[in-house]
């Protein structure tokens, strides 16, 4: 098992003919992900990726013809909210939106529509989800992973790669790595992913990569106290030295008015029994200290 994506994933790529869409679809397929369809309105009937993937005009047609159950979106910000809603309408259960720069107000009704439909949205502005050895949906480099039993959840992109690489180098494999995205309004939170890991029999330990801004890490810590007693957990929080009031790239990463600081998050996590690293390279050591046996 793994969470969100795995051997039963049948992926439709929205925006498969674009530069990013095509590049990362190739990488996903090379990793063994079942890419069953792509969409590009007006190019239905053609094929992509050297004739191996059929293109459809709509997600609904792709689902009908191929049984796609998961979508990934590589469509510019102006069209991405609509692409998410199109997936929801077509009955897709897991939607991964890589697109960055979607205005926050656009996402408010979209996440509500996703929720009402009972679907799951990862992102936007996220690197995607990889279940090592099974499926890779999104842009996380394949080379950093080995299969294993540690679940990884992160708000960041390249920082996740850093942490996962450190784990792989130390011989600690991963069950699933989920990049939830750095925007203020996202479909799936830390808390949601922790619940999924909690229910996944193959995930035995958890690594969380957080950053300044918001209160998602604190909410995750509260959940850990209640439900993850005895589960080895380690975390890293980026932005300990970030100045208040300045936005550090991610729309979410800001210390506003003294809240959302790294110190508050670290304190909440440590109170929940989560070991917090000073550098991502320490995460493997902390997992072992927390009782994880690879």
């Amino acid at each position: 098992m793994s969470i969100l994506v795995g051997g039963d994933t049948r992926l439709v790529v929205q925006g498969i003919t674009g530069r990013e869409g095509e590049f990362h679809t190739r990488a996903s397929m090379a990793y063994g992900t079942k890419v069953v369809a792509g969409t590009r309105p007006g190019k239905g009937g053609q094929t992509a990726i050297d004739g191996t993937v059929p293109i459809f005009d709509t997600v609904a047609q792709a689902v009908e013809a191929t049984g796609a159950n998961t979508s990934v979106i590589y469509i510019p910000a102006s069209g991405a909210p609509d692409a998410i809603l199109e997936s929801v309408d077509a009955g897709i259960g897991t939607i991964v939106c890589i697109t960055e720069g979607i205005p926050a107000l656009d996402m408010i009704p979209v996440v509500e529509a996703v929720r009402r439909a009972g679907a799951r949205l990862i992102g936007p502005n996220c690197p995607g989800v990889t279940s090592p050895g099974r499926a890779k949906v999104g842009i996380i480099p394949a080379s950093i992973h080995v299969p294993g039993r540690v679940g990884v959840v992160s708000r960041s992109g390249t920082l996740t790669y850093e942490a996962v690489q450190a784990m792989t180098d130390a011989g600690i494999g991963q069950s699933t790595c989920v990049g939830i995205g750095g925007d203020p309004i996202i479909g799936t939170t830390f808390l949601d992913v922790l619940r999924l890991f909690h229910d996944d029999p193959e995930t035995e330990a958890i690594v969380m990569i957080g950053e300044i801004g918001g209160s998602a890490e604190e909410e995750a810590a509260a959940y850990a106290i209640e439900h993850l007693r005895g589960v080895p957990m380690a975390a890293f929080i980026a932005g300990r030295t970030a100045p208040p009031g300045r936005r550090m790239g991610h729309a979410g990463a800001i210390i506003s008015g003294g809240s959302g600081t790294a110190a508050e998050k670290i304190a909440a996590l440590e109170a929940a029994g989560v070991r917090v690293a000073d550098s991502p390279t320490q995460l493997p050591k902390l997992l072992l200290e927390a009782g994880f046996r690879p």
Binding site: S143, T158, L159, A242, G249, G258, E264, S279, T281
Partner: protein, 468 residues
Amino acid sequence: MVGRTAGGRAKHRRRAVEIPGCRRFVAAVGAGKCDSVRDCTGAVGAAPCYDRVPRAGDRRQLGFRPGAVSTSGVAGVKIQEADAKSLLLAQGLPVPPWEVARTAEEVKAAAQRFLDAGAGRVVVKAQVLVGGRGKAGGVKLASTAQEASEVGSRILGMDIKGITVRKVLVGAAAEIVKEFYLGAIIDRASRRIVLMASAEGGVEIEEVARQNPGAIHRVSADPLLGLLAFQARSLGLAVGLRDPLLNQFVVIAEGLYATMKANDADLVEVNPLAVVAETAADGTPRERLVCLDAKITLDDSGLSRHRGLEALRDLDEEDPTDAQARKLGINFIHLDGSIGCMVNGAGLAMTTMDLVKHFGGEPANFLDVGGGARHETVRGAMELILADPKVKAILVNIFGGITRGDEVAAGLIEARAQQSRAVPMVVRIVGTNAAEAARLLQEARFETATSLDEAAEKAVAMAKGAAR
């Protein structure tokens, strides 16, 4: 934007009044019967400005329902009070007229126009994008045009929290009966727009949150239907308003919500939302609600789809590097240390800064070159780092995913060939095309590192060596 005021909410707007002698504005007048500038009141006293919405820490400490309101991503483009007022006006909100002046002479002329039109006193307010203007002496009243000019010359050029005041807002002083707070924010935890109101307006709302959290009332707009009238009404009732002010409040609350939606704002705040005493045209005294101050921040992801909003970015208050960084498409924040950092990805860039600090150094900047940076972007970013004379060492940390390591290496080599001063540099490139990058860097004799910790440690040592 202001042009749209003529069309606003029929229920709310009666008419537009042109003040004789005022070149700069056409006053959109709210629900009341404004016939003169006296009616169209401006702010008075210590202008209530604040830096932030209530803190998450305050909530915990004070027993707010967890997640009821989380701090929004108040991080976008801050705009000046005068521009914020224009955006409110465009949605039909009652905002008293104002003028913006950049010299004491302009202040004098503007004050004269308000006084001629019937104002008893005028208020002169510093236009800076930081809170606490009143406390800093950036808000003053004047009874004559000459006095306004003197006040203006004192405020213009004043330093408020490190920012030089370059312009002031001039308006008629209001006769304030009571002050409220009203704000709309994007609440991440509930993933909705939340409106907050308090009867304790005119002071820093975070003070209220700290001392009397029960005094802040809130409603969540429906994510699909928007802010509903009954929600706005319940908020008005909660802060103690009754007819006829309650109806005015509902219209204003709906207007704040509309302003947020119309401009992709992260935050729209009116503090104070004031009940002011006025004299109607027929001589009868009356009270009405007006927006005496306004604070708006815009979501920069939404800027491109609103014509004219980009122009509201106040270049006077920007670091000169900001515009250059925007042109390059990178995220750059100037800091005070000696170690220049170039990293791909915001989280990793913050982490790199944290590690520099951990090893005893001080970062000179936050710099995220973004995903898939090309060599010319890398070159431009390096110029930006080197433009800071305090930079004594440079740390480049790239974890290639979309970004190709060899492309970054090529950019670094180009940059070094052109750079005006020699600064020691350590480069760490891993991930996509790292091997090609390593070869290029080795040929060009760059100092490299394999791990992030090693790179940070080396950069700190280099900066200390250069300082000696």
